[in-house]
């Protein structure tokens, strides 16, 4: 198989964003009829590489050859014409159109009078049949079927456009096990037809189940290309994070000592049966000062939804909310902040930073919001706040007046942390505070969180990296399918594996049917 000529041959790809080298001389090859996984932690450059290959980004340096022909993609249309088709994690189809129309967009069958809808729907139907969805009505609106089905429709579109290369970017993050198996059947079928498939997933088991070969990236750099069957999982993980397995287990369980201190404190936040239709089923939780409560669960488990309810970003349908013994109706972030609950959002770019505003303005925003527009924070006080947190969190910024968008991800995150700390919160909810930032900044932020807990803050810590949750939490609340399934003390012998088991079983003591 490896002897055939590569269908995709990327050499020395470099892409620079303002201030960051997202990709630095990365090479990447794919062969017809193989499933190739792209591995790396968040921020390793996986999505940037995909976007270079699909023509979303233009490359600053390097060459892309598809089928031996040098390509210079100016847009997604160019890539599609070269035979590259992509299915993104968030379905990127037109939900306002029908299933058939979506499948055929840009490739409708035509006759003398223009588009022949009958023929087009027939082709669409055939394409659906190929992925085992022949029973779907091609005339139905795309929005009338579930996201998982839409994902399969997007894959079916690849066969309509006769793709030679199919890129699947986290295709399984919203699928259940049956759907994943169905997807894998389709992938195997396409593979046997000679399509090269690029598979990106953060589920290691799925990668090992389906792929032949993998390329590992780390911090925008090429680490190596490996045959999956010859590379043990432990090795893959250490390649991805650049540390050996031994040092990994050292890190784990490193902290865990806040455990005893908080037990004597009175709970600062108590919620009972707080829930919101369609997002999270009613949950009870208590948190004491000095404690780090970890939320563990996979993507879509409801962890962010629960955090948003605690902060008033969404209004709960049910439940009571008690802060330091007082019952509250937290109907907006303003009320939450005013009462000492702060929430650092999962989506730093769209719900966190105010990109055009300065570091100073970003830092004082929440405090100013609490005080109200008519009570401006004096310039002097603003400067003091900035100086304090720039020092305390060792934020690297040219000046306080620099627009926050020109800072690195880690420093942006620290500015946001400063924003919440400036409001002197009693409860601090951190949703993926370490996502997409480099390892150094990551451990700094983890350390800061532990210190904050020691100073008596109650912290909710959410991360998709279970190892991180286990490393610093005092208790772990485990969520699955928008439901709380367990709450466990993080005793020294508690590991990631325990969490995984609980999620798989859907609870701790429940007997599995």
């Amino acid at each position: 198989m490896a002897e055939t000529k590569p269908i995709v041959d990327m050499e020395g790809i470099t892409i620079t964003f303002p201030g960051v080298k997202a990709l630095d001389g990365v090479s990447f090859k794919m062969y017809p009829g193989e499933v190739h996984s792209l591995m790396g932690e968040n921020g390793a450059g996986k999505s940037t590489l995909i976007k270079a290959l699909t023509g979303v980004y233009t490359i600053d340096d390097g060459s892309i050859k598809v089928g031996g022909v040098e390509q210079r993609f100016a847009g997604t249309g160019d890539a599609e014409r070269a035979g590259i088709s992509t299915v993104y994690q968030e379905v990127n189809l037109a939900t306002n159109l029908s299933i058939g129309e979506n499948l055929m967009l840009g490739h409708e069958k035509r006759n003398k009078l223009g588009i022949d809808w009958k023929a087009s729907h027939e082709v669409a139907h055939e394409a659906l049949e190929q992925v085992g969805l022949g029973y779907l009505d091609t005339h139905a609106l795309l929005s009338s079927i579930s996201i998982a089905m839409q994902q399969l429709v997007a894959i079916a579109r690849a066969s309509v456009v006769k793709a030679k290369v199919l890129i699947l970017d986290e295709p399984t993050s919203s699928l259940d096990e049956n759907e994943v198996q169905r997807l894998f059947d389709i992938i195997r079928k396409l593979k046997s037809e000679g399509v090269a498939i690029l598979f990106v997933s953060h589920f290691l088991d799925q990668v090992y189940e389906i792929s032949d070969r993998m390329t590992v990236l780390r911090n925008g750099k090429f680490v190596g290309e490996y045959l999956v069957k010859d590379t043990p999982r432990e090795q893959t993980i250490s390649l991805m994070i650049g540390k050996s397995m031994e040092s990994l287990s050292d890190l784990e369980g490193g902290v865990k000592q806040t455990l005893d201190e908080y037990k004597n404190h009175k709970p600062v936040l108590e919620v009972t049966q707080i829930g919101r239709r369609g997002e999270i089923q009613p949950v009870d939780l208590t948190i004491r000062p000095g404690e780090i409560l970890g939320f563990a669960g996979l993507l879509g488990s409801g962890r962010t939804e629960l955090a948003r309810l605690l902060f008033g970003a969404d209004k709960p349908d049910t439940g009571t909310y008690k802060l330091e013994g007082n019952t509250l109706t937290v109907s907006s972030p303003y009320i939450a902040l005013k009462n000492g609950v702060a929430y650092s959002t999962e989506d730093r770019r769209d719900e966190g930073i105010l990109s055009e505003l300065s570091v100073r303005e970003n830092m004082i925003l929440a405090l100013q919001a609490i005080r109200g527009w008519a009570h401006p924070i004096s310039r002097k006080e603003q400067e003091e706040i900035c100086a304090t947190y720039i020092k305390a969190l060792s934020i690297k910024t040219p000046s306080t007046e620099t627009p926050i968008k020109s800072l690195s991800g880690g420093n942006q995150q620290k500015v946001l942390l400063a924003r919440w700390l400036a409001t002197s919160p009693k409860v601090l909810i951190l949703d993926e505070p370490t996502r997409g930032i480099d390892i150094g900044a990551k451990s700094e932020i983890q350390e800061t969180i532990v210190q904050l807990a020691r100073q008596g803050k109650a912290i909710v810590f959410i991360s998709s990296e279970l190892s991180e949750v286990v490393r610093i939490s005092s208790r772990v609340l485990i969520l699955k399918d928008r439901k709380k399934v367990a709450e466990v003390e993080n005793t020294p012998d508690f590991t990631q594996g325990n969490i995984v088991k609980i999620i798989a079983q859907g609870g701790v003591n429940e007997n599995v049917k």
């Binding site: 907006s332 929430y343 769209d350 930073i353 925003l365 919001a369 401006p376």
Partner: protein, 355 residues
């Protein structure tokens, strides 16, 4: 170090202000070339007069709408109804003085209060629809732009209403220390708005909401109230602009008063360096922008071009500025430069090799 900090902080705005001032001077030079008497300043009946004095007096309504529009655009909205609000304000004031035969100062003040009050209602209506219901700003204010003229016509029963009130007229045509009062009052109002924006936290909140309403909400701001407030302020300022324009001629023409002022406002904002996509705003930029529009209007008359053609000039300037600011243009410029550089490098290399 501290001076360097400042430079890093905001080099864009001072440079832009400089460009605006250059544009002002250029326009004056064009006028002077056409007829040097443009610079003539005389003194008659306790006031200065001359073309330049006309320019600063006539800038008053532009200053009002430019400042209001700057705030609205900063929240990534737009207020197309400012011209119609001017007509409504004028109609309310004129009809009130006409009906009551009010010729005194009290009557003039009451007329102004009424006019601004009605405009505040218009602004509140726009603000509620945009912030409360989440309608698109352009469609909401477009409806008001056209329906507003209907409202003005309904107030005056379709007539062009005139009134006699020397106090009201003095607002636009009077002098204080020889300087047109309209200009002084407008400048004071702009300063008051600037103080409201920069001495409180409102300005930052408006910018924050303009950059990203959802992130602002998560930061504890109340984007709906902020958005509501800018439409309210914009409409009240437009009402004041209506008072200025109708005070000049003491007559309101519902179909003409304030016509195409929304374009003037957009133009002032664009000249003033506030991005049409929202975010950071500059009131000093808007101030100079309004001055340029006033001067431009005068220039067009001075050069003897038909009044009806004025909108075309303004449109061309808006288009030109937007084109110059676009990524497409700056990228093309960069490419040209890098090509030149690489060419230079290549020739240098060749020369080096030859040597």
């Amino acid at each position: 170090m501290s001076s360097e900090k400042k430079k890093r902080g905001g080099p864009a705005i001072p440079k832009r202000l400089l460009l605006t001032i250059i544009a002002l001077v250029l326009l004056i030079i064009i006028d002077v070339i056409k007829d040097p008497s443009f610079l003539h300043i005389g003194y008659v009946n306790g006031g200065l007069n001359g073309p330049l004095i006309d320019v600063i007096r006539d800038s008053a309504p532009f200053l009002m709408i430019a400042v209001g529009m700057t705030l609205v655009i900063s929240t990534s909205g737009i207020d197309l109804s400012v011209g119609a609000s001017m007509a409504v304000a004028g109609a309310v004031a004129m009809q009130f003085m006409h009906n009551t035969n009010g010729t005194g100062l009290g009557s003039a003040l009451l007329a102004i209060v009424l006019a601004l009050g009605v405009c505040a209602l218009i602004g509140a209506w726009n603000g509620l629809l945009v912030s409360g219901l989440g309608l698109q700003p352009f469609i909401t204010t477009l409806i008001m732009m056209l329906a507003g003229r209907g409202i003005a016509k309904t107030i005056t029963s379709g007539e062009n209403t005139s009134a006699v009130n020397s106090a009201f007229s003095w607002i636009d045509t009077g002098y204080v220390l020889g300087i047109p009062f309209a200009f002084i009052l407008a400048t004071l109002i702009v300063l008051a708005v600037a103080a409201l924006m920069r001495k409180t936290a409102l300005g930052m909140m408006i910018e924050s909401v303009g950059v990203n309403p959802e992130a602002s909400r998560m930061g504890g701001l109340k984007p709906k109230r902020v958005i509501f407030s800018v439409y309210l302020i914009s409409a009240i300022l437009a009402g004041m602009a209506g008072v200025f324009t109708t005070g000049n001629v003491m007559r309101v023409t519902p179909s003409q008063t304030g016509l195409s002022y929304e374009m003037d406002a957009v133009l002032a904002v664009v000249i003033g360096g506030t991005s049409l996509l929202g975010g950071k705003f500059s009131l000093s930029g808007a101030y100079l922008g309004a001055m340029i529009i006033s001067l431009l209007e005068k220039t067009i008359v001075w050069l003897g071009i038909s009044n009806a053609a004025t909108p075309a000039f303004k449109a061309i300037i808006v288009i030109a500025i937007c084109v110059l600011q676009s990524n497409f243009f700056t990228n093309a410029l960069k490419k040209m430069r890098s090509k030149k550089q690489s060419k230079a490098a290549m020739t240098a290399a060749r020369e080096g090799a030859a040597a």
